[in-house]
Symmetry: C2
Subunit: 335 residues, 2 copies
């Protein structure tokens, strides 16, 4: 347990540097020597001391993930982001340090304390106050989301703007003329959270472009919020026939409320969800949905981070193209 590289060197009859080179592969070591060293490592159960390694190499093999651990939002999407990040990180031999979003000083702390090689931030807002801080850091950062000005940071996300357009176009093609967006909670919109903003924009664009009539309602992430939002929509646009729902928690209640109000899905109202596929299918009626590939996004974020760490490649922005899967919740408008 308390074995050091010196113990290994002694056991293998080589110098410590040789052991180090066997471990890192940064210099050629002859096969017999390498085998002796590897043997010693195994026999002694040796593990390099992370702190010592970090000190000497200024690489920690840890990356920070700042996740919004508030309970209100999109729990399962967040979970998938996180698993995506963690598994991808492991593929690069990195571990993940978890920071909460409300702890903005946390980034500073872990970064200037040299605890991490890179940072991944979720839940980016249009003018996120964390961005200037990130820019000043020694470590590269990747944003999951798209701020107004990335200031040279890498960004990755689903192209929510295109997703909004795609959802509306799907409805428009089926003859729907009056559509609604049931989106994020008001607080999320007021923060100008990136994904909510862009979704909204895409929705509006396509509504205008296709000459539809459209209303937008924020929607709290609760049953009550869903009911309210649906009722507001029905009030503002009584003969709505297409609804785009971008709120995982409210989703089941939206559909239930529509039915309660006498609108059959999909005969009277078509519903397009924007959510992970498992959420869309785990409903009484399998929902047509635009996938949020959270796991993939997390993975890509890590890849971009590592690309900068390992080969300091320049920052880039990647928006993943949305994919719509038609299920049972959308149908042609009856007229």
């Amino acid at each position: 347990m308390a074995t050091t590289i010196d113990d290994v060197a002694r056991a293998a009859g080589v110098s410590t540097s040789t052991v180090s080179y066997v471990l890192s592969g940064k210099r050629p070591i002859s096969a017999p020597t390498r085998q002796r060293v590897e043997r010693a490592i195994r026999d002694l159960g040796y593990r390099p001391h992370a702190g010592a390694r970090a000190l000497a190499s200024s690489r920690t093999n840890v990356l920070a993930l700042m996740a919004p651990l508030r309970v209100d939002v999109n729990v399962s999407v967040i979970m998938q982001f996180v698993t995506g990040v963690v598994t991808a990180a492991r593929a690069f031999d990195h571990d993940v340090l978890l920071l909460t979003a409300d702890e903005v000083a946390g980034m500073e702390r872990v970064a200037s304390g040299s605890m991490v090689d890179a940072l991944v931030m979720m839940d980016i807002e249009a003018d996120d106050p964390r961005i200037p801080v990130l820019v000043g850091l020694r470590q590269p950062a990747v944003l999951i989301g798209l701020p107004r000005d990335p200031e040279g940071l890498s960004c990755v996300d689903l192209d929510f703007e295109a997703a909004g357009r795609l959802a509306v176009r799907h409805l428009a093609r089926r003859g729907h003329r009056r559509v609604a967006l049931l989106g994020s909670p008001r607080a999320v919109l007021e923060r100008h959270t990136s994904y909510a903003d862009r979704m909204l924009r895409g929705f509006d664009q396509e509504v205008a472009g296709s000459g539809l009539e459209g209303v937008v309602e924020p929607c709290e992430s609760s049953m009550a919020g869903a009911v309210e939002a649906v009722d507001r929509v029905l009030e503002r646009l009584p003969d709505v026939t297409g609804v785009v729902v971008h709120n995982e928690v409210a989703l089941p209640w939206v559909v239930a409320t529509l039915r309660d109000r006498g609108r059959h899905v999909p005969d009277d109202v078509s519903v397009v969800a924007v959510c992970p596929p498992d959420v869309a299918t785990n409903q009484p009626l399998p929902l047509t949905s635009v996938d949020i590939p959270a796991h993939t996004i997390g993975k890509v974020a890590v890849e971009m981070a590592m690309a900068r760490v390992d080969r300091d490649e320049p920052a880039e922005t990647r928006l993943l193209a949305p994919v719509l899967v038609e299920r049972a919740s959308t149908a042609a408008a009856v007229r």
Copy 2:
């Protein structure tokens, strides 16, 4: 950024050790000296290098959290555990390294690599294979859950056995004689996950103790699973009047299915949920529930871990007493 303790010492006109003592408070420093040092630290924006500190002090100020990041189970409970752990850790000036449950080697890696001061494990099974590994580690570990044999490790959890009894007793007191437990998915039960096992045991105990008739059905975490489980219960015990549901995801579908099958809640069937309060209230009908204080459990886990790290107190097991809150889903049995 690249400022070191030497820079600070130079700027303050003292030795590095003095700076160190100012930071740690482990030796008395006169007020004027301390102030000069603190000033220099602030002016230079100095942060100690985490690796160097870990190397010299063999304390990392990081603790590992192994969480089951599978998407299937109890997502929001897990989230609350995690936030509980993270916020509590911060209160002890620690950060949290996130490990996934499927990566058993991860504990070994972070522990013998001296990346963490302690480990917190979620989702413990009765004979968890990780336990022997944890016992061999240099760092203390805290289990969230209660294995058959803790082997000297600290444990903390809701007293699920008491929770099971409490839920049944609540129903029994209201005159219900035929009750059912809709519990965890089969896979979770087959792993003998601690909480599921204990819940089951408590349910059975109280059913026997109160002379009730009871059935137990596993329940997958999906709509389909909930429907199936409810139907199986209705088949096995057609005149069931009390149902205990210990499955957050299935919960809404269980209630919906009961209604679909013509059983009104609470007039025909009383439902007691075992879940966090927000889940219980965010339903069409506010549900009587036994609280799972996930946030608190996470917090206590960290406190126990830190107690062992800082003052190496002996391991202990703490089971939190369950609390039942009566809401609208339970009523007296009609006979």
